[in-house]
Amino acid sequence: MKKFLVAVLALVLVMTACLASAEGAIKIGVIGPMTGAAADYGTSVANGAAIAVEEVNAKGGIQIELNVQDDEHDPEKSINAYNNLWDWGCQMIVGTVTTNPCIAVGAQAYEDRMFMLTPSASSTDVIADKDNVYQICFTDPNQGSASAQYISDHTLGTKVAVIYNNADAYSTGIYQTFEAKAKELGLEVVAMTTFTDDTTDFSVQVTSCKEAGAELVFLPIYYTPASMILQQAKAMEFAPIFFGVDGMDGILSIEGFDTSLAEGVMLLTPFSADGQDEMTVNFVKKYTELYGNVPSQFAADAYDAIYTLAAAIEKAGITAETPAEEACDMLIAAMQELEITGLTGTMTWAATGEVTKSPTAVVIKDGAYVGAQ
């Protein structure tokens, strides 16, 4: 027992030694799922942020030090990760990546006066009643109504089927606003089926969509179940237009997934990796070189988050010595006045923390995301 305690103590000492850091750099913490079912989002965010930090540091002005902590998409672990960063002397947070952990960490950060800029936690609950939490991504209600609007505007189909995860807040949230908007726009929802987290057989859901004669299937879900739905639809020779939202992003980087199955799938996301502007081309090139796959929207969101923070830090005049509480108020003031043009469009922020930018649709062609016309 004693030996074990000594070992634990030694471990703690080693850890504190590891956390000793560079002089004069502003400390930014990143929280997200680096392991577990949502790991793709977390690692994308960490990678995107790392690229942005390197670029910002190379410019020679503000120096940023990044510390990435895993939360396994669990609020409890996320609070642990946050506390860990707090011990490190973190001044602001990029995160958390997923919604529920973000609500938990947001409440704690609000109490501590720690500024948070989440790249991808899209629920309105994330920013509700908190002045210190800002978003880079759209809120869920926005995504649902924007999807319905896009489908209707581009007359992609009038008979729409929906498959969504009714055990997931993100999916349910988008579905609810989609349904309301669809009704308003005269889209006919011919089939609505649900599944839960553990579902692996989607034949019931796909069959009911097929039998209802759906021309378009709306999938406000994450990419893992979406990939299975595509596979099983193919097996049933059911080929409508599949339309997803930003959770679908990442489907092409699933290991062992036949990307030809995703051919023609459309998704609404603020970022497409084939963009011709210089910024996107540079980012995609760097990302592909470093990490070996095409960046998803999450990586782009994180990249923008770092640039946004860098701009806000500059505007507010924050240095490495500014305590987190003071930095929080200075950043809140600075965020209101910012207008950032990043990979995911031109963004401005309201005092609630909600972002304003315009969504674009991308379609998957030859195993890559291509901007839809």
Partner: protein, 351 residues
């Protein structure tokens, strides 16, 4: 007489460990002694540690003392968490009870009672069965309750509480929003209450074990036929252990729910049940003190391993395997026996 004294002193040691740990934590939080200050990261885990200790001790009552494998302990925790959160928030926001401690205590009691009722409902049909049926049904219960909670919507409209199933459009502010779970929960839980809850759990479980009923429960575990033949009511005593276990798990759940500003049904998956079972098995089945230590250490361990980043879950698994091997190693047991003689005697008693 001597045996009774031995048991009493063993129990006192268990209480002592908990109390000393609490006092040490308080000293570390206050930072009175220079260089002995608790990190924020460890401080944040104190309440979850209390929760998992209560969970492990209560599960040990079912698995170790009553000898029934339960795989749905997280289900009872979720019942407690949600009923506790609803009770706490209703008192605080709906009825205007300002004192958060009072709300928390009421929430914990209500959480325990609701989980206890769930325990009765599951227990009545199942505990009459023999063999592994309890494991299968508790597993199913854990899954069912999670899916039901995903479809439940509670809202608070003034002091009125509305409930609906699969339909979020109810008047007032949503307290529990289906799969999004409860959001915007006040963080009422405190470490002190967690500590008291651990002591309460120990008090209940240790007294039950050392009572007439406890001996009946263990007799049933050791030989059901023999116990029946001397007139012990098997179902009654099994129920007693099972419902007490569920009740305590519900209390832990309520404390857990009120510690984070959000709680979702997805947290109380099969994984969480297994995690608690791992605490029990690692600490020693039937060994209450072992459960406490295992639950506390295994909750802190993954955080301690953060420096290893991506490899930490791998190392966590290796540590588990090593501990299991080490505690069952005869050479090591002999070595310990040489240092602490009475342990060796105990081992030879068993053999």
């Amino acid at each position: 007489m001597k045996k009774a004294n031995k048991k009493l002193s063993a129990n006192l040691i268990t209480y002592g460990i908990v109390i000393v740990a609490f006092i040490l934590c308080q000293i570390a939080i206050a930072g009175i002694i220079p260089g002995f200050k608790m990190t924020r990261s460890l401080k944040g885990q104190l309440i979850p540690i209390c929760v998992y200790v209560v969970m492990a001790v209560s599960l040990n009552l079912t698995v170790g003392i009553s000898g029934e494998l339960s795989l749905g302990h997280a289900g009872f925790m979720s019942v407690g968490a949600f009923s506790g959160v609803i009770m706490g928030m209703w008192l605080n926001k709906g009825m205007g009870v300002e004192n958060e401690l009072l709300c928390l205590l009421a929430a914990i009691v209500v959480g325990g009672i609701c989980a206890g009722i769930a325990g009765v409902i599951i227990g009545i049909p199942v505990l009459r069965l023999r063999g592994d049926y309890l494991a299968i049904v508790t597993l199913a219960f854990g899954e069912i309750i999670r899916n039901v909670l995903n479809c439940l919507y509670f809202s608070l409209d003034g002091s009125k509480l509305h409930v609906s199933f699969n339909n979020p459009s109810i008047p007032g502010k949503l307290l529990v929003n289906g799969p999004a779970g409860a959001t915007g929960v006040n963080k009422m839980a405190t470490f002190e209450v967690g500590f008291v809850l651990v002591l309460f759990t120990l008090f209940v479980v240790l007294n039950l074990i050392n009572s007439r009923s406890g001996r009946a429960i263990m007799a049933i575990r050791d030989s059901r036929i023999a116990a029946e033949s001397v007139g012990i009511n098997v179902t009654k005593y099994k129920m007693m252990a099972f419902v007490t276990s569920a009740f305590l798990a519900g209390m832990a759940g309520a404390l857990y729910g009120l510690n984070f500003s959000t709680v979702t049904a997805a947290k109380f998956k099969f994984d969480t049940s297994i995690l608690v079972l791992v605490f029990v098995v690692l600490g020693g089945i039937g060994n209450i003190r072992g459960s406490i230590i295992a639950a506390a250490l295994l909750t802190v361990l993954p955080e301690m391993l953060r420096a290893f980043s991506d490899y930490r879950m791998l190392i966590y698994a290796i540590v588990l395997i090593l501990v299991m091997l080490a505690t069952n190693n005869p050479t090591l047991k002999n070595a310990i026996g040489r240092i602490i003689p009475h342990k060796a005697k105990k081992e030879s008693d068993k053999a």
